[in-house]
């Protein structure tokens, strides 16, 4: 039998639709349900590619979770409804991967801490923010060499690549990202800034990372660590690129990144969308790999095994 884990995607917006396109190519995840709250172009699109669809929200799918053997849910809706979605699917033994800023579960930045979450079979992990996925690996690359007292990131995204949800809650971006720079990046204090740029043609996602180290930076070790980390991220986001740096100025270490997407649902400039969906899919895949190898045991289900 297939070792792919079956998945439901909640929220057929930019993120959910891009995620669907990526998941359909996965060796480890099989998307089955697309869940929306009304009929729409994107629901139709999901139906056209063979997905089961719900237009009555999560409640329309709950009766089918066990019979369809859904093991993973991706929530690409909003922080306001996430907790309820998560509770409902967790009760049925479904692992929730949260792409909203709700962050009720622990933060997950795949190359930094995904393995730990999988080992513990965390039932809800949060994917931080697009800016967090693009920058926290770099903060962690410095902090695993030596203590970082302050980590700051500036994410600049093309206007067309961020939807109304992010815009209405832009403070959530700065708060969630700052918190994750500390918790996952390993900086004592974190600060996040987001800039929206409307240039045409749209600019590619850019990210700047500044770390202030406690003692003089060990330049060779940091350069090596950063390059290793870039390669780790490139495994799931091939367009993740170190444009300049690390540059050293006293105790300041700076890196300048560009993130090109795969151009699945939105064009390639929307690397911010890709890094989020690719990280979420990578997270689900690792759970599937660990389950297949027997390293973790998924919640028992009465009609199986």
């Amino acid at each position: 039998m297939s070792e792919k884990l079956k998945a439901a995607i909640i929220g057929p917006g930019n993120i959910g639709t891009d995620l669907l396109m990526k998941a359909m190519r996965s060796d480890w995840i099989e998307p089955v349900w697309m869940i929306g709250i009304e009929e729409s172009e994107r629901i139709k699109r999901a139906r056209d590619v063979g997905m089961k669809v719900s237009i009555t929200g999560i409640d329309g799918v709950l009766p089918h979770i066990i019979e369809d053997d859904i093991r993973i849910a991706f929530d690409a809706t909003s922080a306001y409804v996430h907790a309820e979605n998560s509770r409902k699917v967790n009760e049925l033994g479904v692992i929730m991967i949260d792409l909203t800023p709700a962050a009720i579960g622990p933060f997950c930045v795949p190359p930094v801490n995904l393995k730990q979450h999988a080992e513990k079979l965390e039932m809800n992990v949060n994917m931080v923010t697009c800016g967090g996925q693009a920058t926290i690996p770099m903060v962690a690359a410095v902090s695993r060499v030596q203590p970082v007292s302050y980590g700051e990131i500036v994410a600049t995204v093309g206007s067309k690549s961020i939807g109304p949800g992010t815009r209405m809650n832009i403070d959530e971006f700065t708060r969630t990202t700052s918190a994750a720079i500390e918790k996952i990046g390993g900086a004592t204090n974190g600060k996040a800034i987001i800039v929206v740029n409307p240039a045409e043609p749209p600019m590619m996602m850019r990210d700047t990372i500044h770390c202030l180290t406690e003692s003089e930076p060990d330049q060779q070790a940091i350069i090596a660590s950063v390059h290793l980390m870039v390669a780790e991220v490139q495994k799931y986001v091939p367009g993740y690129k170190l444009v300049n740096g690390p540059i050293f100025d006293g105790k300041k270490v700076s890196m300048f990144m560009e993130v090109e997407g795969l151009g699945d649902f939105l064009p390639k400039y929307a690397g911010n969308l890709d890094i989020m969906t690719a990280a979420a899919l990578r997270t689900a895949e690792l759970f599937a790999e660990e389950a297949a190898s027997g390293a973790i045991t998924l919640p028992a289900r009465s009609n199986r095994n």
Binding site: Y150, E152, T156, R167, M168, D171, V196
Partner: protein
Amino acid sequence: MSLRDGMHAKQHQISLEEMVNVATALDNAGIPLIEVTHGDGLGGASVNYGFPSHSDEEYLNAVIPKMKNAKISALLLPGIGTVDHLKMAHDCGVNTIRIATHCTEADVSQQHIGMARKIGMDTVGFLMMAHMVSAEKILEQARLMESYGANCIYCTDSAGYMLPDEVTNKIGLLRAELNRDTEIGFHGHHNLGMGIANSLAAIDAGASRIDGSAAGLGAGAGNTPLEVLVAVLHRMGVNDGIDLYKIMDVAEDLIVPMMDQPIRLDRDALTLGYAGVYSSFLLFAKRAEQKYGISARDLLIELGRRGTVGGQEDMIEDLALTMSRSA
């Protein structure tokens, strides 16, 4: 603007004593509203924009109790500052909050404008880099801010690029189309020497709030020089309630001695105005020129060509590194 936009020109290094002395003198000269914040607004303290000598809270707490008539304003850029900063400013006694977004991105300001209005602040929507789009687009974005609760909308010439006809056109359309009780404001930079002319055009077209800065202290070639604007208004017979000699003295005796460099239209500041680049990029580009040997003018022209917007200071070093590699 001396104590907020002026922070750019001072690399955010203004002492509490200077802050209080200047604010007190401006108050005494009859300036009704004085802005006190990090140059990039509340929460701007950062590697990217510069760490200030003191926190926003320390500056506000030092200045506000000393004011006799003047009200204090603070700036906030969503994406940099949050509603937490806004509430802090309100708790310090800030009267006016100006929520600034790029001129096409007003919808990131909803939670901040909404909160400010809810807690009863004088709430301004501040549309930056307004030269980059049409008057109709500015109006569309202004209406969004108005719908969130802003009682005043600014057309902000962050690059000092506008000429008077454009100011007339944009302010005129806002005045004609926004609610009658929504005030209109204009914020100028002097990068093409148009600070005074643009301010007069704005007043003629219906603006009731005009930003200025004593001795022009501000980003780029500075803001509209306040003492000059006041002198011109007095010659025109406008009764603005400001004491001309006192504001001249603030400029000459307090501000000029504080300047780290003359605020003048040098070739780099002129390039900002000519190429339409965010004024606070000036000193960053000059520093990148020193460090990487790429001329500040070339950097600024390229930043303009790429359509950079306010807040993208990090692009300057990145671009200088890239240009120095290919040079």
